[in-house]
């Protein structure tokens, strides 16, 4: 409003900087580009007011509508009910994907390169050490949070009808989480990873009848070798994430279809 008034009002009033900034902000938020990005009801749109109708629009006109309904039961927003464990497991998965992609830029899954690449990451890459640490600790935390999420769901009896099948999917997700963590364990190719994986896979080798075949399929050779490293790398960065994303999609969808979060007790 203030722009353009300066010369016309005779006494030489010039718009202040704050007024100019406000005017630019106003113009931006009424532009076509801005309105094409933020759908009606977005809190960033011009003229957003806090009304029940707009609160509904915020969700309905948002990609989050795939995860959340417009309204939830009141007890569902109590932290003490869910402890946020399921949601935080999902967040940890996203964090692990982001940090994992970063790590992939500096890593080759071969016997000669793997360890050197990790050392290089620790010493020469900007933020390499921090990101590797985050990936490691987030992975351990995810195993823990998925496990605790399962315990929470059990103690609330949330696996009961109609949510039986979603519990089964949850157990599959727990197993996939363990496998993701375990396959990642080998990749640094140091003494810790080699022998931890040796102990782990030896156990699977004792499967009755086809123990040897199981071991061979998992390791790609009789003992842990470069073949194993490549195989577990592909499992870790591609196949298991792909599978777990599909199961997660079904898991989240079923949460909503089965009537949202369970309870109250």
């Amino acid at each position: 409003m203030a722009i353009g008034n300066g010369s016309s009002n005779g006494n030489g009033h010039r718009p202040k900087i704050a007024e100019r900034v406000a005017a630019v902000g106003d113009k931006t938020r009424s532009s076509q580009a801005w309105n094409s990005i933020f759908r009606p009801g977005s809190i960033y749109r011009k003229g957003y007011t806090d009304s029940p109708r707009n609160r509904s629009y915020v969700i309905m006109n948002n990609v989050l509508y795939h995860l959340h309904p417009v309204k939830v039961k009141r007890h569902a927003v109590k932290v003490s009910y869910t402890l946020c464990l399921g949601g935080l497991s999902f967040f940890l998965f996203i964090l692990l994907t982001v940090t994992g992609i970063f790590l992939m830029f500096f890593y080759r899954p071969t016997v000669t390169d793997a360890y050197a690449n990790v050392q290089n990451l620790e010493t020469a890459v900007a933020f390499g050490s921090l990101v590797r640490n985050m990936h490691r600790w987030a992975a351990h935390l995810m195993v823990l949070s998925v496990f605790l999420h399962m315990a929470r769901v059990f103690y609330h009896g949330a696996y009961k009808s109609p949510r039986e099948f979603n519990w089964v999917i949850g157990i599959i997700l727990l197993t996939l989480t363990l496998l993701l963590s375990f396959t990642g364990y080998l990749l640094p190719w140091d003494q810790l990873s080699l022998w931890a994986v040796t102990v782990g896979t030896n156990m699977m080798g004792y499967t009755p009848v086809f123990g040897n075949s199981v071991n061979y399929v998992l390791l790609g050779s009789r003992t842990i070798s470069g073949e194993t490293l490549l195989r577990w790398y592909v499992l870790h960065v591609l196949m298991l994430p792909f599978v777990i994303v599909i199961f997660m999609a079904v898991h989240f969808w079923r949460v909503r279809k089965d009537g949202g979060i369970s309870g109250p007790l």
Binding site: V72, W167, V168, D190, V199, N202, G211
Partner: protein
């Protein structure tokens, strides 16, 4: 005029023929008009007369019965009497006068004339009580908007977790031991922490039992828990058995994992973590 399917028109023609009513479009004409005024007016009138006679003879219905309004029952009774008396040999309504309400309403009036006895253009097939076909389950629920109540909470918890992980990662380094060497086995060799419970079992059982059978059965039992536990209650006080079993199950793993992590030293022998040798554990 709405399009009437061919097979229905055909059925209608046959029925009319059987009842001796005039049939339009008899000779191959497919388009039949439901409102053929002249023919129908002639056909309906005699029936109406008979109905009036019949209602004089029989007593008329004035009370509601089984939720069906009296005037409908009355109309149905008249119609049936008319058909029974009117000599329609194919009329199924011969089954008694008043009858049960069900038959009274469900009996199909045979002649597909365009107007009914009272000049009505529709007829009642059956009366279904609303309770049996629709249930209203609108229990009021105490709900809150996801925005802002839930999203703000989620955002806050994600931020705190992110902050925690960033600070922790900046302070604590992830372990990286020496280059993998197949020829030097560290003592002890430990699996990742979440498998240390299994490694602990390996001390007690044959490897096939400890490494495959027990975890397999445990996961399988866990997966079918909802189908084993038939108790519909969510209240902890009603679920003492289930809660006890699960707590024991979880505690068993927790204890095994903790022993495996902190109480196992060289040769996977029992040590105390506060011994001089220290803790043999890497995350």
């Amino acid at each position: 005029m709405p399009e009437v399917p061919e097979h229905l028109l055909k059925r209608s023609r046959e029925r009319r023929k059987a009842l001796g009513l005039p049939v339009e479009g008899d000779d191959g004409e497919t388009e039949s008009t439901p409102d053929a005024p002249a023919a129908d007016a002639g056909a309906v009138e005699p029936v109406e007369e008979v109905a009036a006679a019949a209602s004089d003879a029989g007593e008329s219905i004035t009370e509601d019965k089984g939720g069906v309004p009296a005037h409908l029952l009355e109309r149905s009774r008249k119609r049936k009497a008319a058909l029974a008396g009117g000599g329609g040999d194919a009329a199924p309504a011969a089954a008694g006068g008043g009858g049960a309400t069900r038959t009274a309403t469900a009996v199909a009036a045979p002649a597909p004339t365009t107007t009914g006895p009272g000049g009505h253009t529709q007829r009642l097939l059956t009366v279904v009580k609303s309770g049996s076909i629709q249930q209203t389950r609108a229990e009021a629920q105490d709900k809150v908007h996801v925005w802002p109540h839930l999203l703000v909470l989620e955002f806050a918890s994600i931020l705190s977790l992110m902050a925690f992980i960033t600070v922790f990662s900046a302070l604590v380094k992830a372990p990286l031991l020496g280059l993998a060497d197949v020829n030097s086995t560290p003592n002890p060799s430990k699996a990742p922490w979440y498998f240390l419970g299994l490694q602990e079992l390996l001390k007690m059982f044959n490897p096939a039992v400890a490494g495959v059978l027990i975890p397999g059965i445990a996961l399988g039992l866990l997966a079918i828990t909802p189908y084993i536990d038939k108790n519909p209650s969510h209240k902890p006080s009603d679920r003492k058995f289930a809660i006890t079993m699960m707590t024991m199950f979880l505690m068993m793993w927790a204890v095994l994992v903790i022993i495996g992590c902190f109480f196992r030293g060289p040769g996977f022998n029992f040590v105390f973590p506060w011994d001089k040798q220290g803790i043999f554990f890497e995350l």
